[in-house]
């Protein structure tokens, strides 16, 4: 029963979030700040994880198809498919749920318990719109870019691992990368990314906004934000895969 109340409050909050900002230039300024906090500052961890995971995927694939009958270009092909279809959109979104989600929830939660949100409301500012909308819009725009960078670096990481270990030749690997490439797979990955970005930013904002109490509760809210958005990402990943790939 409690879950229905939570879902109801979530949608009520969203109704206040998705309204026209009171001052356009204030919104744009906040949006650019969020690009910085949510995007640029996540670049390092995304790059690091992508390169290493790309390398591991390539090496794993190479060892698992050590069969003289199959072409070595299959290594490149499989690496590409895993990275573009699952690893980059889903794994990196989960990482971002941890990094960005906890940041959003603790930032908004702190503003709630220090009465900054009340201060906005007293002035007559729609605090939900003012605080949350820039974060959601920034996430929707910046996460796809992060994911594309991640795909690219993942492939580079895979190629580099193959070069270092000499499991197949560069030509074989690159031939595999190019083999029967469908643009739809990128499109599919980006749709997932955008939906995950929406989940991360709105769920985390919701938990931050609903915080009551003090510093301890802010910590709890940020944990809850990460857990709930991760679970939803996993669930929606299954649903979207089923919907989009059949």
């Amino acid at each position: 029963m409690k879950i229905f109340g939570i879902i109801g409050r979530y949608f009520l909050l969203m109704r206040r979030v998705f309204t026209r900002p009171q001052k356009g230039f204030v919104f744009r300024k906040r949006l650019f700040d969020e690009f910085q906090y949510l995007g640029v500052e996540s670049l390092g961890i995304v790059a690091f994880i992508s390169i290493f995971m790309g390398a591991v995927v390539a090496i794993q694939t190479a060892y698992n198809i050590a069969n003289p009958l199959v072409s070595l270009s299959l290594i490149g092909f499989t690496t590409r498919q895993s990275i573009i279809l699952e690893f980059s959109p889903t794994m990196i979104s989960l990482i971002l749920a941890g990094k960005v989600g906890s940041r959003i929830a603790s930032e908004i939660g702190t503003m709630r318990v220090t009465e900054q949100i009340d201060a906005l409301e007293i002035m007559g500012v729609n605090s939900a719109n003012f605080l949350i909308l820039p974060k959601v819009v920034a996430s929707l725009l910046i996460n796809p870019i992060l994911i594309i960078i991640s795909m690219w670096l993942g492939l580079v990481g895979g190629w580099a691992a193959i070069m270092v270990t000499g499991l197949c030749t560069s030509t074989d690997f690159v031939t595999g990368l190019r083999d029967t490439f469908e643009e739809f797979s990128i499109f599919y990955a980006l749709i997932k990314t955008v939906i995950f970005a929406f989940i991360i930013s709105t769920i985390s904002s919701f938990h931050g906004y609903e915080t009551e109490g003090g510093a301890l509760e802010v910590g709890q809210a940020s944990t809850k934000a990460v857990v709930v958005s991760s679970i939803l990402i996993i669930l929606f990943n299954l649903i979207l895969t089923q919907l989009l790939l059949t």
Binding site: Q22, K23, V26, D33, T110, M111, T114, E115, Q116, D118, A119, E121, I122, M123, G124, V125
Partner: protein, 255 residues
């Protein structure tokens, strides 16, 4: 003038305010006093509409706040300045941007006009030249003063202060109290201050409303408060060792 008429407020089964009726006068520092947990903050939050009352009326210079729709309330809110218990400054903005914030959101003034106003109010609270400081670099007293500056930036008709001197030393408290009183008289504001500090009561309380267990238990001026025969108020007023001893001392002297 702000009037509250028979307001009731429940949290679940718990009644935080019981039939509270009181009024707060223009150009005066109106105090709400009471022990911790008596309902001061709830009363203040009901008056400004952060909490909805369950019954009763709230009037702002005759305008019925309780029955207003959201947009009408927003208009009144721009006439309200509020000083929160913990200052509630925006930590993503510096001092200048904090004070300028309401001007940016609600006026069409140019940057130059806004800066003029910001410097004027910062000067008024003795913080000239602190424009570029970050909020984390301010002391507690400075934060309160920046918050006062932000609250008066829009020339409010109504000023609400929730425990303006909690967490401050007695001298800094005095400075903040007097600043509030001066501003109130200078600009003819209806000011409401929540406090449990007897010092503030005696030095700035033009009118005093004593809240006890969610009820309005006593009201009057700070001149009358020392001679009151109301038991609960007496316990509150003479609640510290210092005041009790002073009272005994003067009683002995009189005999």
């Amino acid at each position: 003038m702000i009037e509250a008429k028979k307001i009731n407020k429940y949290f679940g089964g718990f009644q935080a305010l019981k039939e509270v009726s009181c009024h707060f006068e223009k150009g005066k520092t109106n105090l709400i006093i009471g022990r911790s947990g008596s309902g001061k903050t709830v009363l203040m939050k009901c008056l400004i509409g952060l909490y909805e009352v369950d019954s009763g009326e709230i009037l702002y210079d005759g305008r019925n706040f309780s029955t207003m729709i959201l947009n009408e309330r927003k208009a009144i809110r721009q006439e309200i300045g509020m000083l929160f218990q913990g200052a509630a400054l925006f930590d993503f903005l510096n001092v200048e941007e904090n004070v300028m914030f309401p001007l940016t959101m609600f006026t069409k003034q140019s940057l130059k006009e806004k800066l003029e106003r910001v410097n004027f109010v910062l000067n008024r609270v003795d913080l000239k030249g602190s424009n570029k400081l970050k909020i984390s670099e301010l002391s507690g007293g400075m934060r309160k003063r920046v918050a006062i500056a932000r609250a008066i930036a829009m020339n409010p008709r109504y000023l609400f202060c929730d425990e303006p001197n909690s967490g401050l030393d007695p001298q800094t408290s005095g400075v903040i109290d007097h600043l509030i009183k001066e501003i109130t008289e200078e600009y003819n504001i209806t000011t409401i201050v929540n406090t449990h500090d007897m010092n503030s009561v005696l030095s700035i309380g033009d009118t005093v409303a004593f809240i006890y267990n969610g009820q309005l238990w006593w009201s009057g001026s700070n001149k009358e408060i020392l001679n009151t025969t109301n038991k609960e108020l007496n316990d509150f007023v003479f609640g510290t060792e210092l005041t009790v001893r002073l009272k005994q001392y003067f009683q002995q002297k009189e005999q």
